[in-house]
């Protein structure tokens, strides 16, 4: 019986390494009688030749020598902190830091392991940290496996390299995780677990905000999926689950307390109560940033309440009025996201382009570009 085209598709390769004699026979037999697969195989060969010929001598010997010399020279120099830069040399800088650290450690015959209680101070990013507890001052940054962890406030955590997990005990951290094939990174809190592959997010004991990529929030005991969040989305621990973490605010609340209350109610799905809280926040003389957050929460209420069109309108209004604030940036991307999900291609493109024009190096620019490309591909 002749093999199917689907089976044969995986046998058509530019090179024959990895194909058994039996596979070769199947392939040749199929190609002898299938014009379509023969054409495909021919196209693969021609494209492969094009790629191969370009790859036959890609760099001059001078360029190659330069790359080797620089790699060894830079790695032998002073280690650099693993700072993420937006320009293409970012990978280079991180690599220099990693390679430099390796050489420095070798030359120093390795220091004894770190003491159980260690302090990292602001503006002193540490290239690597061993397992154990760690106190971070505000703005301190540490590199933990494939992640860079920055403290947004004084933070207590511990690092478990075997589980690739940060256990957050107190404070809040912003985490940037580089995608590493097959390796997940986790932040554990008493009430929830954040699991990621490659992404950027902020987490405190009450919830998580995602800037880039996708984050999974799991139950700490059963590791059941609670929710999955994309860029621009956030999640908070439901109030019923965290009485000790989120105490009820006292009477005579400030705008920020009303907003915190609104977020908790929204997270629990109580949109009507959340809207009342937001109204109270707006009546409690909020500052501009709090007003922007209040209006964003109204948009989120509409979204959670099943009215994405109204939510998009409210997000756009926030983005126009508070374009200079982070809330304005988030709102514009959130509006675009709603239009993408609703299949409103033209509106989505318009909003994504507005976002990229306004925030060319914004927090969601990668996501925005990717979504725009996906929309263009569908055209």
């Amino acid at each position: 019986m002749r093999a199917s085209c689907i089976r044969v598709a995986l046998l058509i390769k530019r090179r024959e390494e990895g194909l058994s004699d039996a596979d070769r026979l199947v392939l040749e037999d199929h190609l002898a009688s299938c014009e379509k697969c023969r054409q495909d195989a021919f196209a693969i060969d021609v494209l492969g030749e094009l790629v191969d010929s370009a790859a036959s001598s890609p760099l001059s010997s001078g360029a190659r020598e330069r790359a080797i010399t620089r790699a060894i020279r830079d790695a032998a120099g002073k280690p650099l902190p693993p700072v993420r830069a937006s320009r293409p040399a970012a990978t280079l800088l991180v690599a220099v830091a990693v390679a430099g650290l390796g050489v420095a450690l070798l030359l120093a015959n390795r220091r004894p392991s770190d003491s159980p209680s260690r302090q990292a101070t602001a503006a002193t990013p540490r290239p690597e940290v061993a397992a154990g507890p760690l106190s971070l001052a505000k703005h301190a940054t540490v590199s933990l496996a494939q992640a860079r962890v920055s403290a947004d406030e004084p933070t207590e955590l511990s690092w478990d390299p075997a589980r690739q997990a940060v256990v957050l005990r107190e404070g809040a951290v912003s985490v940037s995780v580089d995608s590493a094939p097959g390796r997940q990174f986790r932040v554990l809190t008493p009430r929830f677990v954040v699991e990621v592959v490659g992404t950027e997010f902020r987490v405190d004991l009450a919830g998580v905000n995602v800037t880039r990529g996708i984050v999974r929030v799991l139950s700490p005991e059963s590791e059941d999926l609670i929710t999955q969040l994309g860029a621009g989305q956030s999640w908070s621990v439901p109030p019923a689950a965290t009485p000790e973490l989120l105490p009820a605010p006292a009477r005579g609340r400030s705008a920020s307390e009303w907003l915190a209350r609104a977020r908790r109610h929204l997270a629990a799905g109580a949109t009507a109560t959340a809207q009342r809280d937001v109204a109270a926040a707006l009546a409690a003389r909020p500052n501009r940033s709090e007003t922007a957050e209040a209006r964003t929460l109204l948009a989120e209420c509409a979204l959670v309440g099943g009215d994405p069109e109204r939510a998009a309108e409210l997000y756009v209004a926030v983005s126009q009025r508070y374009a200079d604030l982070p809330a304005g940036e988030t709102a514009l991307f959130a509006a675009a996201r709603i239009q993408v999900n609703a299949g409103h291609r033209r509106e989505a493109e318009q909003l994504l382009r507005s976002y990229l024009d306004r925030y060319p190096s914004g927090r969601f620019q990668q996501e925005a570009r990717a979504r725009l490309r996906a929309l263009e591909r569908r055209e």
């Binding site: 390769k13 094009l50 990693v98 995608s179």
Partner: protein, 206 residues
């Protein structure tokens, strides 16, 4: 099918050289890198295209390797191990879209024409550059994981198991990615006048 020759395989360093590399011996590292660099360049160019940043990617790969050598246990060959690092570096590179749309470097195109055509006409260079640009634009469009799976399996001749291990994916997911990448790429190539002409011309030459 044509062009089914095996690629040149760089010789493996002996155990003493590897041990010296683990200790950070500069001379040993230079020796190993000089032998392995051409194969790494070819791999990088296949994955990203003949772009101006190939040199940067090679350098990054070597620096990553230098930092990781103390942890190299010799379970895989040095060539395979360096290839894995190069794939990881390229993967990271491709994740940043602003780095992917760089034009094909003219000197690299000229370089690949030289063996077959010592004095390629400028319009011929431009034409090949256009073909390569179009091909890598289509590869850009099919998604990073599908693209890497396809190039490593179909064009670089690696096994499904090896590609799956390199990209941290299951065997089934890798097969699926290769299948869909191939289908998407060929559909795009068929609709692209520049590449369609290339195929038609080569068909006529057969």
């Amino acid at each position: 099918m044509t062009g089914r020759s095996r690629a040149y395989v760089a010789p493996e360093p002996d155990a003493r050289t590897v041990e010296a590399c683990r200790r950070g011996d500069r001379q040993a590292l230079e020796t190993v890198f000089r032998v392995q660099a051409p194969a790494l360049e070819r791999l990088i160019v296949r994955l990203v295209g003949p772009k101006a940043d190939v040199e940067d990617l090679l350098q990054t790969t070597l620096m990553e390797a230098l930092g990781a050598f103390p942890r190299f246990r010799g379970k895989a060959s040095v060539r395979t191990w360096l290839g894995r690092i190069a794939v990881h570096v390229v993967h990271q590179h491709l994740r940043h879209p602003e780095r992917r749309r760089r034009p094909v470097a003219l000197d690299l195109v000229r370089g690949h024409l030289e063996p077959a055509d010592p004095a390629p006409a400028p319009d011929r260079q431009a034409h090949v550059r256009r073909q390569l640009e179009r091909l890598y634009e289509h590869l850009d469009a099919i998604g990073i994981k599908k693209r890497l799976s396809f190039v490593l399996f179909v064009l670089d001749g690696r096994s499904i198991e090896e590609v799956a291990a390199l990209l941290g994916a299951s065997r089934v997911a890798t097969k699926s990615r290769v299948f869909w990448a191939r289908r998407e790429l060929l559909a795009r190539v068929g609709a692209d006048p520049v590449l369609r002409d290339l195929l038609a011309n080569r068909e006529d030459e057969r």
